[in-house]
Symmetry: C2
Amino acid sequence: MGESLNGLKRSIMCGECREEHIGQKLTVMGWVQRKRNLGGLVFVDLRDREGILQVVFGDEINEEAFKKADLVKSEYVIAIEGELVMRQSPNKGIPTGMVELKGESIRILSESQTPPIYIKENLDAAENIRLKYRYLDLRRPDMQEKLVIRHKAAKVIRDFLDENKFLEMETPMLTKSTPEGARDYLVPSRNYPGKFYALPQSPQIFKQLLMVSGFDRYFQIVKCFRDEDLRANRQPEFTQVDIEMSFVDMEDVLEVNERLIQRLFKEVKGIDVQLPIKRMPYDEAMAKYGSDKPDLRFGMEINNISEVVKDCGFTVFKGAIEAGGSVRAIVAEGCSGMGRKKVDKLGEFVKTYRAKGLAWVALKEDGIKSPIAKFFSEEEMNNIIEASGAKTGDLILIVADKDEVVLQSLGALRLELAKQLELLKDNNEFNFVWITDFPQFEYNEEEDRYVAKHHPFTMPKKEDMHLLESDPAKVRAEAYDIVLNGEELGGGSIRIHESDVQEKMFGALGFTKESAWERFGFLLEAFQYGPPPHGGIAYGLDRIVMFLSGTENIKDVIAFPKNQNAACPMSEAPNVVDEKQLRELGIEITAKEDK
Amino acid sequence: MGESLNGLKRSIMCGECREEHIGQKLTVMGWVQRKRNLGGLVFVDLRDREGILQVVFGDEINEEAFKKADLVKSEYVIAIEGELVMRQSPNKGIPTGMVELKGESIRILSESQTPPIYIKENLDAAENIRLKYRYLDLRRPDMQEKLVIRHKAAKVIRDFLDENKFLEMETPMLTKSTPEGARDYLVPSRNYPGKFYALPQSPQIFKQLLMVSGFDRYFQIVKCFRDEDLRANRQPEFTQVDIEMSFVDMEDVLEVNERLIQRLFKEVKGIDVQLPIKRMPYDEAMAKYGSDKPDLRFGMEINNISEVVKDCGFTVFKGAIEAGGSVRAIVAEGCSGMGRKKVDKLGEFVKTYRAKGLAWVALKEDGIKSPIAKFFSEEEMNNIIEASGAKTGDLILIVADKDEVVLQSLGALRLELAKQLELLKDNNEFNFVWITDFPQFEYNEEEDRYVAKHHPFTMPKKEDMHLLESDPAKVRAEAYDIVLNGEELGGGSIRIHESDVQEKMFGALGFTKESAWERFGFLLEAFQYGPPPHGGIAYGLDRIVMFLSGTENIKDVIAFPKNQNAACPMSEAPNVVDEKQLRELGIEITAKEDK
């Protein structure tokens, strides 16, 4: 049931009513946040996208409206005409709190059943229920705000890139399955039974082709797809801000992107990002923070103490170094008094990162306490303390193993300790850093070959070019990531535009000319016809909006997200389809759902 | 092979060089459009996105550069440093024609094989070759211009809608198969073997849910998908400008959209669209133009002459009227002398629209000529002439049949004649019209039931509401299309927000409550919780850009389009995939490609 507007026009949004409108006849429309009948008056809090306005109905204002207003319930949609007046008892907690509307007539546009979730800020309801009734969840002002921020962010990005002569260009959604990537979502073709399109994991190849075409500066805000098992903050479809430029080197790409980031955080969040954004080579990030996306809002850097323990009597340390590994430490400031149980838990924690154990040295006021103290002379122990950079009151935490294990486990331990010690509580810093000089390759043990760390079209650094064939592991790439507070916001590279470099690159990846063409044929073909020097970057928009709106849940910044099983409890996608549809596509179901 | 930039920076685009830059040292980069060696000088036309610049190399300018410049070929990518000077022999045909660059150094950034298609305006190459080498086809300045227009159009639309408080919101690409629509593209689910996502045909349901959520004003420029057999100017993936508003009626939607259209055509094309845009009810459009997307740039309206022939002796006319049909005519001005062969061909033409034949009356200076003259008295013939609105020198063309056949065939004949008679030659008019008052239903003979002409959530007109159950065929809808020069640019409607109206609507469509819920469950569920009055529109962006860029080929406004078989000759999508991928999805191929 419901009345219709019948030509009635809204004159103002609820949340926009202010003292300057007092005395005006206004028409507002929205949802009933709550209704109270108090002392012969009906008070309705009316909600729209802009906020909440109090409307008061009374016998003396309009008897008919008063009676009808008393019938409304939460989430009814109503339209009210009346005069805006000074509010009797002002509410300074809301922007409209100085005024109220005297309800002279009311129209009930639609009714509502009792909603299964409360429409209020910071709701603590089960995620499944929130997703099933997403349209109600999205009525919550804090949820709406996040999507308003998303709109603004996309708008600022587009404005900036347009001003800087980037053209937004659409690339295909129905494309070819990508080699060397994550798992593709496939789309069966009806015209070519037995063949499939793939949904794009990124427009990488297409944006490079657009550079070959001479479009010079391209961008796109675009959906991308990966059919991977979902971890927290991963969604099967996600939105990428994709950028590519011609006739540039890394400095050019970084420069324009720094201005983009500055503009974005200023306009949407009011934050001044200081330029230039600092840079850190990959090797330094790994050595100091055990991560290629270091959180620089706090110190607790990793220190290599191998040099001072390499000749010690403690076989665990000595053995690790002799096997080509290292011994490294982080210092938990003021934690010398940490209880044994807690320290043991940290030991368990590093084991999940393949460390065999965690050695510790507590520098208490009354002397050193450490289970490994007995293996060291006083001088050796002093050297360890000095090399770790610890002082009285601190706790030194040490891992000895292969470099990879040491760095990864101490990097994770560093973040874990920051959480436990609440080092980032009330920290409002936005700490950006470019990570540069990534390795060109990483060794894939399963396939027993080098694979591209970024992708096979990434330009090696000029000074490492001579190592492409002789020592691929040492080759660094013209690749860069932008990291904010320990999260990767985006990454990119300068691409190879010289065919001889590209051939060497494929050689290092173990491809023959034929197998390279089989995989990347149309891009390689295009590169025979004058590719310009080019490079670019891609950002995760969802991730950016999470920062801008202050949420740690990716689902909060997506209007209709999927759950952890890549399903939508609201629409019930994915779902069964008709036999006829499958017949037309020339496919058949061989395995039924067993979940 | 190729040199690298090595820090060299472009200082200006080729196409931007003007007399004001004379005397400056400039660095330009781009593609060699052509190279000539004339009288001891090498002339290179260098091309980038902004245009072409002449560069001259000579022994006396720089010998090394001169020699190297002589090595370059078409489509090589080069960088040149030099001084901009006044051009010896100005070329007023291009914007940079007053200047030229004295090439003091040259770097060959990459070489090019001889391209398989010419890089020049208005190329007349086979479409398949153009699509296979799309990256080269897109180097042509006229192709680039169209995609620049596309970028601008999307930007203007976004700016306007943002200013008018619309929020751009993304809706899912992986969603549920739609009932009652075209054929869906399906995406097999790995997490739920045997189940499928569908790619959206439009975000219709999601945008309505966003209105239920209270977002008030939504838009999105978004890819949509239909797996239909492709006709000219159809693509399997197309881009929609999707808009929805709350607390509005039709006038509100039309008003804001007229301003959007005005702004778009003004900013991108420099055309003043006069507001308000005229409106025409569906019935009038059909009666006068035999089409719900009439081209109003010329007259040649259809006239109903049933009244004056209903009692005549010509059984074809009389019979058609007695069977409930009609006799209608169009007048080809000044065509009384059209040859018999040509007229016969028009007769063949209307037969493809199921007309049984085409009667004609030629009003020659020396009297009437018509094969059907013998069936009519002089008075009857004069009545026909008068009812048709013909004058001496004209040719009357008449079809008698069921209304539907008469209108459709005469509507098509009208357009065909306009083409043959070149009525629109040199016509630069942009003739917009809103078609309103669409029928709510159309009868589907195959299913023997009424189906929604727009969609099942379209609001019937208030004054026709009482006919929903008794006479659905007569019910008109609050639906509207925007038509430009005979092409539909977009369409929309006010949606039903009252549950009782929605129930009657489903009744008229032959759904039980259960079957309606099965198909539209989550939208109906959402509507139980206070839906606001709302309505919207969706435009085809590709179609709009075709108008803005003056092309009749949809492929020209899409960077990487598919061919008529929904395939991409460049990427070779769709393609075969690994057995392993199919196994993971729990599907198997049953029919192999037989094309």
